[in-house]
Amino acid sequence: MIPAPLLAMFAPIVILVFGFLGENTRVGKLREAVAVAMSAASVAAVYVLYLMLKSTPDGILVFYLQGAPPLGACFEIDMLGIFMAFSVTLLALFATVYSVRYMEHDTRLTEFYTLLSAMAVGMVGVAFAGDFFTFFVFWELMCISSYVLVAFRKDRWGPIEAGFKYMVMSAVGAAIIFLAMAFLYGMAGTVNFAQLSSALHGQPMGLWRYTVFGLLVVGFGIKSAIVPMHTWLPDAHPEAPSPISAMLSGMLIETGLYGLCRVLFLIYEPPAFSMTIAVLSVVTMCFANLLALLQQDIKRLLAYSSIAQMGYMLVGLSAGSPYGMLGLAAHVFNHSLMKGLAFLSSGSLVHMTGTRDIDKMKGVGRMMPVTTLTLCIALLGLGGVPATNGFVSKFILFNSALGAGMWWLTVLGVLNSAFSMAYYLRVMKTLISEPEEGLKVREAPALMVGVTVVMAVLIIFFGIYPAPVISLAHSASEALVNGLKNYIGAVLG
């Protein structure tokens, strides 16, 4: 039986129906209103689920669909799932509101809002899935919607090329995850997460377990843009429309990381993957920070910065402790706000100036003061300046590596973080320097500015008063690392 809050997962269908109604009856802005209302309803639904979760004794909600496992599918919701779902729905709300003005000159908007909502639902479903089958179906829902959204402006070369590249790599990643899932099924005879974990957790490592580990790291690594598998990201993120870039960068790649964390903690012990992940993390942050320095395209720079942030998050995973996962979860939320804001406000700049070249935006900051201020706040947050929320979660992440005895990881992380300020400051300096002759730009529309201002305020707020995020992230990481027994027990009884 599906409980009421999960019915919000049918939001894309509602938006589709009302979108076509609005088109045919020529009621202005009907689909935009419905899309915003549905994404607001999704945030509320996640909150209701959170309250339901609070009232359970062991902190797990299980909903079976069509019978008990191993045959039936199920949703198994714990604090980590709620945390991810909340980040997704919040960012989706911001992106939808922003799209109302940003996309108004495009056609096929019903499809746009439906796909945007379907992508968010896919991510929420991935976070809630209680077995690999449900996980995979929602994973593909998320992926397929994002392929179409990246290539949404199909009459230009860039989106088509980026979309095709992204589609090929991501589909290969999904095929690899599927193969890993088949091997896990071969080993345990089930795809239910709880049953898999009770059959495989703590077993000695063998050839098959190493094979599955490699497949999982590559499969999820493609989606979360860990460096040898990152090549789709710097193309796909700049070419997508800005609200979509914000969703992709803010939450989609983190969903890949969520899948990796969830499966690794279910099947392996942290020492088994600690070193591999640490090496990947170092490679990811160094490579991405170096390449970000070379970029001329502002959205491409932000895309490389996303890869670097992914490297910082992997530090928490490689530490493998509850403290490290706390940092990871908090950074996922904070990064979704910061990178979402960075893409949205740079989207406003691109929208008003018509170029993505940083050098051509010289002095634009004086004509679009509010947008530039919000972009600067986002960039400072990404660089980890104190009084922004990026500082808090980065501090915890790098600290956790010390706790796990990997001081070199901390040193490299801090150095990379400092180094990354070089390209953030370059963007800020260009934007606020003396404008060239004849440059005329107006401030972005009020709705777009409003969304970015709200997000900027949230960044500063959670930087000064991080307690709510940290306490939620704490219970999320406890659910992942120490709650395994509850997680298994909720299904097996």
């Binding site: 995979f136 992926c143 397929i144 088509i160 979309g163 095929a175």
Partner: protein
């Protein structure tokens, strides 16, 4: 004997898919490569479902997952083909060597 053949077939399909992706230059062939890779997973599921059955009834879980995965693979290829059609309509090529405008 039987097991070795099946596992070899799974890895062979996977490698054919990887080969196809890395060597072929036509967009449609690349999509076929993805399908072949996905099919190695499907074959693995069918084989393991057969193994778990005790050879009397095949485990329905593996079979149902495979049916769903074929559907999902079809969706992915449909999106991919629509991208190919758009690329061909506007730029009169399906050669991925031309997909080189975005760099670094």
């Amino acid at each position: 004997m039987n097991e070795a053949v099946c596992l070899a077939a799974i890895f062979a399909l996977f490698s054919i898919g990887v080969y196809c992706l890395s060597v072929k230059r036509n967009m449609i062939r690349i999509l076929l490569g993805i399908e072949i890779m996905l099919n190695s997973g499907n074959l693995a599921f069918i084989y393991f479902a057969f193994l778990r059955s005790g050879r009397a009834f095949v485990d329905p879980l593996g079979q149902s997952i495979v049916i769903m995965s074929i559907v999902l693979g079809g969706c992915v290829v449909a999106v991919g083909l629509s991208l190919v059609v758009n690329a061909y309509k506007q730029f009169k090529t399906t050669d991925v060597r031309k997909l080189r405008r975005l760099k670094w």
